[in-house]
Subunit: 209 residues, 2 copies
């Protein structure tokens, strides 16, 4: 375990392996090989073993991996052996949809607050949380010890919101706005660019015929 930098692609695959293992566990499967995991998630078996090798030796030669054990390791590696409180900024359609997305809860992410600056929707309830104004950002973040923020505001507001989140102590940001954001060192940023994803499809359709 003498590793500095883990490839991001590896981390994403670990997340996918862990979900696959959860399914296998529910099916009652107790032992699994790298080849079976690979077939299940659409990668090569050497890739699976290499990804795991960054973090230790979890298998038994000649046998494979114990599903529950490997799953436990992956959950710990991914930091999912605790609940992460999350704040969403932007309570439009997309922000509201994410706030109610079950997939987050299932994996240990809890949306504790959703903020917006539109007076027309402030006060509206989404199941158990209420849309609040941006002013409460700092309070909610320290109150719930929030480390992760999700941005679903329009492009022109995104950098300002980002700065406020960072200033309030958030350490990781998932950006759904179509804007390239800057964060200081020490803050992790990921960009889910919806239009870019469709445009890659458009490119492939246009270019390959």
């Amino acid at each position: 375990m003498k590793v500095y930098k883990i490839p991001e692609a590896t981390v994403m695959r670990l997340s996918i392996y862990s979900r696959y293992l959860m399914q296998m566990q529910e099916k009652g499967i107790e032992t699994i090989s790298s080849g079976e995991i690979a077939a299940g998630v659409g990668v090569g078996s050497a890739q699976v073993r290499k990804d795991l090798a960054y973090f230790g030796e979890f298998g038994t030669r000649g046998v494979g991996y114990k599903v529950s054990e490997l799953y436990g390791h992956l959950i710990k590696i991914l930091g999912l052996n605790k609940t992460w409180n999350v704040i969403i900024i932007g309570a439009g359609k997309l922000g509201s949809a994410l706030a109610l997305y079950r997939g987050f809860n299932d994996r240990g992410f809890k949306v504790c607050a959703i903020l917006d600056n539109n007076p027309d929707i402030i006060g509206k309830k989404l199941t158990d949380i209420t849309i609040e104004p941006l002013e409460v950002m700092k309070d909610r973040i320290s109150q719930h010890d929030i480390k992760i923020g999700i941005i679903t505001v329009p492009a022109q507001a995104a950098q300002e919101v980002t700065d406020k989140l960072v200033q309030s102590g958030v350490k990781a940001i998932l950006n759904f706005s179509p804007e390239v954001l800057r964060v200081p060192a020490g803050v992790t940023l990921r960009h889910v660019d919806l239009s870019v994803n469709l445009e890659v499809l458009s490119f492939n359709l246009s270019f390959n015929n």
Copy 2:
């Protein structure tokens, strides 16, 4: 008929460059250098030039690029010089949010149909389109010559819906469900895995301290 293989990362950046150029154009800027584009979107200037070099020589040495001209080239490269009709399968919160997402319309994607199998929401109107049952899939796809499908159904329904889309003539799929999908050769697939994105953040928060 692939000529050269274009890295996917390049295509994604081209999409981002094009959006940045649109902004610069609106600001009235007529000429721009690779270094300015690079600074604007957070990459290196050599990267910008290499990305463009896959498709031709668009600049003038010693000067830079004409914004409107380069923008036009990128739009054509990305296949955005036409309108793409899109179908969404799954009219839950996320599917509805995507159906109403302005960013798609702004870039030439038109959501023509949104389907679901839940009788409680079939018939509901989202602005100008109405939620319809899955049975109309094939009709809508041929009627609007739809090549792109977006999947926002639960995991357990995703592969079945994918197969139906492919069978109905869709050639590109954007998958928002947390499920690894299989498509035949000739169909492009992209996966936007919301949980994976949060889990990468969780990993970074856990691992780097």
